[in-house]
Symmetry: C2
Subunit: 371 residues, 2 copies
């Protein structure tokens, strides 16, 4: 099992190119306008300011045009840094007046989970399209209300599932769907990190839950996009040290199994007490291993087949996962189609998350509605 | 996550040496006799003839003295190959006359699972010590009867858990117990292979079950010896394509979760349709990854900590896992102690296997008796 660096993509043939570039769905046609749509960022926390805002400059179809925060100092600081005039600064009290600002096309909700539904719905009511961070909300009922509000307003809703725009992950999805390693039998997916105390994600009223809502959702997403189908049954087990002050209101570790209609099974890990960022899928003829699998950068993927391990080495992507995600919603808006990673996609995850919690609580398998 | 080959053992300090050499339990003291004990091999199939018999020559305390088979050609062939005279050849009809052969000290049962109990009990009744392949039997009731028979006869019983004698696995156990990566939070363990059709392991009357009895037991063993404690609860999900002629009577894939008293959780895979041989344990401060983890040879183990991955490079062991296992039972007999991997150890696995099957069948968590 010696690692042998090889450009596996080159051996995949032309079929891969389409998958790698997200196919034609939602691609802007040459005849359509190419103006950049304006994003208002709502919630100037670490993820927004360190990951999203610095990447907007690299987008084809997106620009930063407004900021929303409850902290005047943040508005002043980031307004200066990104050249956003004070006429385009908002707080949570005057947020609804974004309806009068034609420079705002899309509202990107990067608030604590419990605020996703409210600000998505208020943005839709202001006539704006919405990008909302994952988890989409803290209940499936909220997700349904968000979808309904956007539908009523005639605006698009997309969830910030950046890994669905990341080249290595797109490669893995394409390989699983092509069945080059034989039909998938088993998926494993593990995500976790050590959650430091004293932050909103450890307060249930703000987060809606613990590691599963925050990082375990990556395990769930990967299982679903590698399987390429929807699970019909879940089983889960939780373990939380309630004497640890971090876990007064949310869970620590929760492992879950998913059954898919084709017979594929996924075994998933979610943790707030240990670091994990990997997944694998196994067919009869080999497996793909990813580690780190869904990180901001530095992805490493290997394909094991015929007793040989080859690292997946991809050509540099035209844009990174953040820019690709930010550009995709404008592309979908221009094309008049639902974005990949739509509100329905977020709702599907949330319904499964609710079933995972129920399974852990009741100690039994939970069949998923509609399956 | 660049792999950086380093001798991690050298950094472990003196504490490791004891674990690596199995500690003092069961070690033969200098004052005791050093004669080699004679093994009779029962069942001359692939594992016996390709893995065990060729390794007996490298043992300190074991020699091959008798053969038991229902196939005269095999007795003739292997008798000639290993210099075993026909006076030391037995079949299943005259097996009990081994009692009259003083050259046989230990009977090694390498038969299909359903025959383990019968031949272990008959060997004990013939006054012989027993090494029995895993799974110990096809039910916990059989395991209990085997333990009782050996106790009554005053003979020792050991189960062929060779990984408990393999240096990399011993290293992993020692590292987990030392807690150098922080207390263990999550264990994952995956074992599987593509089972070819038309063999006894696919016939329930002979095997007692499918992948779990055969290869998934490695996932279970590893979870237990890495956790260093006994699970209190299991949850499992099975998926088997009953239209596949391989699976007329046994299961294909079965994934299971284990909860341990300290809060450790294990997420385990067992498959007859895909290749898996790996495990990991994650503490707060890092993780160990093994792949292949429990193979006949070629083990590769890595420790990830502080953003660095180091391969575990061990000094060549004084003897391989097969010889160490074969020598251990004579050592325990000489020392008058229970062997590591005793019948009780096999029984513990079997009780958990029964609970895993029950959980998958009933779709609910099963608490383990005595927990």
């Amino acid at each position: 099992m010696k690692a042998n660096r090889r450009d596996v993509v080159m051996g995949m043939g032309a079929g891969f190119a389409a998958a790698y570039s997200l196919g034609s769905a939602g691609k802007l046609s040459a005849a359509q306008p190419r103006r950049k749509l304006g994003y208002a960022i709502v919630g100037l926390g670490s993820y927004a300011t360190n990951q999203i805002m610095p990447r907007i400059g690299g987008c084809e179809h997106a620009k930063l045009t407004a900021l929303v925060s409850g902290t005047p100092e943040k508005l002043a600081r980031y307004g200066a840094e990104y050249g956003i005039p004070s006429t385009h600064h908002y707080n949570y009290a005057n947020f609804d007046s974004i309806r009068d600002n034609p420079d705002i096309d899309i509202v990107y909700v990067v608030l604590p989970n419990s605020m996703h539904a409210e600000y998505t719905i208020r943005a839709a009511q202001a006539g704006k399209h919405v990008m909302c961070e994952k988890p989409m909300a803290i209940s499936s009922a909220e997700c349904e209300a968000m979808i309904a509000a956007c539908r009523k307003a005639g605006t698009r809703l997309m969830i910030g599932y950046r890994s669905q725009f990341e080249p290595h992950n797109l490669y893995a999805m394409a390989l699983a769907q092509r069945g080059d390693l034989g039909p998938t039998q088993i998926i494993t997916s593990e995500h976790g990190f050590y959650a430091q105390p004293n932050q909103w994600r450890l307060e249930r009223p703000l987060s809606g839950g613990g590691s599963l809502m925050d990082i375990g959702i990556y395990s769930l997403q990967a299982a679903r996009y590698l399987a390429g189908e929807e699970p019909t049954e879940v089983m889960a087990m939780e373990t939380t040290d309630r004497s640890d002050p971090r876990f007064a209101t949310v869970e620590d570790r929760i492992d879950f199994q998913l059954r898919f209609p084709s017979g594929v099974m996924a075994s998933c890990v979610s943790s707030y007490s240990s670091n994990h960022n990997n997944y694998r899928f196994h067919g009869r003829d080999g497996f793909l291993r990813a580690e780190p699998a869904t990180s901001y950068d530095g992805h490493q993927f290997w394909v094991h087949r015929d007793g040989e391990t080859r690292e997946v080495v991809l050509p540099p992507p035209p844009k990174n996962q953040f820019a690709a995600q930010l550009d995709h919603l404008p592309e979908a808006i221009f094309a008049g189609v639902e974005p990949r990673a739509s509100g329905e996609e977020g709702l599907r995850d949330m319904r499964i998350i609710e079933a995972i919690y129920q399974s852990a609580r009741e100690g039994r398998a939970i069949r998923l509605a509609g399956s």
